[in-house]
C-alpha cells in the first residue's frame, strides 16, 4: 500500500473520540489551539475513488461538528493534485445530472454531521499525480474558517460499509 503524504502539519492534541479518523489539526495562523472534546470538528470515513495518472477523482468524508459554532469547509489540499474544487451533484428535471461548484464553500452547521457522499457534495480532485490505485492512501488537508485538519483517505471504488 502506498501513502501519499502531505506536508507536515503541527499536531494538535485532538480528543480520542470513538471511531475518530482526524489525525491532526491546527489553526490556520499556525498557533496550536487547545479545544475541549466537545468543541471539536471530527472527520471520519474519508475515501477517494481510484483514478489514472492525469485523471480526476472525488473525495468523500463525514464532518462531525461538535464545536459551539458553525464552520465552512472552504478548500482542500492534497499532495496528489494542485487543483481541487468543492462541488455538489445536481439532478435536473429532464433527468440529466451534473456538477456545480460550491463557490462559497460547504456549510458545516454546529452539532450536526455533514456528509460528502456519492451523488451529493464532494471534493473534485483534478489531474491526479500519480495514479491512485485501490488500496493506496492519500493525505488530505481540509481548510475551514479558522483551522485545518489533515486526514488519511483510502482509495476504494465504493463507499466504506
Amino acid at each position: 500500500m502506498r501513502v501519499f503524504a502531505f506536508s507536515a502539519v503541527l499536531l494538535f492534541g485532538i480528543a480520542a473520540l470513538g471511531g475518530c479518523e482526524s489525525e491532526s489539526s491546527t489553526s490556520d495562523d499556525g498557533r496550536n489551539v487547545e479545544r475541549a472534546a466537545l468543541d471539536t470538528l471530527r472527520i471520519t470515513n474519508a475515501w477517494v475513488r481510484p483514478a489514472p495518472e492525469g485523471g480526476v477523482t472525488a473525495l468523500y468524508l463525514e464532518l462531525h461538528n461538535r464545536r459551539a459554532t458553525a464552520d465552512t469547509l472552504m478548500r482542500v489540499e492534497t499532495p496528489v493534485s494542485s487543483r481541487t474544487e468543492l462541488h455538489t451533484t445536481v439532478l435536473h428535471s429532464d433527468g440529466t445530472t451534473g456538477m456545480r461548484p460550491l463557490n462559497n464553500g460547504l456549510a458545516v452547521p454546529t452539532d450536526t454531521t455533514t456528509t460528502l457522499r456519492p451523488g451529493g457534495p464532494h471534493v473534485m480532485v483534478y489531474d491526479v499525480q500519480p495514479a491512485l490505485v485501490i488500496g493506496d492512501s492519500v493525505r488530505v488537508t481540509l481548510h475551514f474558517g479558522d483551522l485545518m485538519h489533515t486526514v488519511t483517505a483510502h482509495v476504494r471504488p465504493t463507499p466504506p460499509q
Binding site: 485523471g55 480526476v56 477523482t57 445530472t97 456519492p118 473534485m124 495514479a131 485501490i134 471504488p157
Partner: protein, 185 residues
C-alpha cells in the same frame, strides 16, 4: 423491470425502446481496435454504460453498478459489458485504457469505446443519452458536462429493451432483467 421500459420482456415489438439491427457505429476501443457497434456484439446480450472520464462522481457509480452486475452474473460469455464515452474529444483510447485499469478491469473483456465526435453524438442520440456542457467550452479542454445517468440493456437481436438510472438502480433489478434476455436463458 427496466425503469423506462414498457411492461414485460417478451421480445414483442411493443416492448422494445429501439431496434439497432439497422444501425452501425464505427468506434474504437481502449486498445485502438476498431469496434462496430452493435454488430460486433451480435448474439450477446449487451449491458451498456455511458460515462466521461473527467466525471468523478456519477460516472464511477455507473461503472461500479455495472461491475457489481457483472460479478453477480459471474461474467458470462453470452453477455458483453460495454462502456461508451460521450466525451470523445478528451477520452482517447489511451485515457480509456488507463481509466479501465484504474478500476481494476484491465484483465477483463469489458470494452471501453470512443469514436469521432459526430459518430458519438449520433450514437448518444440514438440511445437517448443527453449531453450538454455545463461549464467551459470544447476549445479550452477544461469543461464539465451535464448528462443522462443511464445503463441500457440490449438483447442478442440488438433491440434496446431497457434504460435504467445508471448510478442508482439496484443490481437485483438489472440482474433480473438481464436473465430474461440472455441467449442461454
Amino acid at each position: 423491470m427496466g425503469l423506462l421500459a414498457l411492461t414485460g420482456c417478451t421480445g414483442d415489438e411493443a416492448d422494445r425502446i429501439d431496434d439497432l439491427s439497422d444501425a452501425s457505429f464505427e468506434l474504437v476501443n481502449q486498445d485502438s481496435t476498431t469496434v462496430t457497434f452493435p454488430d460486433d456484439f451480435a448474439g450477446q446480450a449487451i449491458v451498456v454504460g455511458y460515462i466521461y472520464t473527467q466525471c468523478p462522481d456519477i460516472c464511477p457509480m455507473v461503472t461500479a453498478n455495472m461491475r457489481q452486475l457483472r460479478d453477480r452474473v459471474d461474467a458470462p460469455d453470452d453477455v458483453a459489458f460495454v462502456t461508451i464515452t460521450f466525451d470523445p474529444r478528451r477520452d482517447t483510447p489511451d485515457r480509456l485504457r488507463a481509466y479501465r485499469e484504474a478500476y481494476g478491469l484491465g484483465d477483463t473483456n469489458w470494452q471501453f469505446l470512443t469514436g469521432d465526435p459526430d459518430t458519438i453524438s449520433q450514437l448518444m442520440e440514438r440511445l437517448d443519452v443527453r449531453v450538454e456542457l455545463s461549464r467551459g467550452s470544447y476549445e479550452d479542454d477544461d469543461y464539465l458536462i451535464d448528462h443522462t445517468d443511464q445503463i441500457s440493456l440490449i438483447d442478442p437481436q440488438q433491440r434496446v429493451l431497457f434504460h435504467y438510472g445508471g448510478s442508482m438502480t439496484p443490481v437485483d433489478i438489472l440482474a433480473e432483467d438481464l436473465a430474461t434476455i440472455r441467449p442461454a436463458s
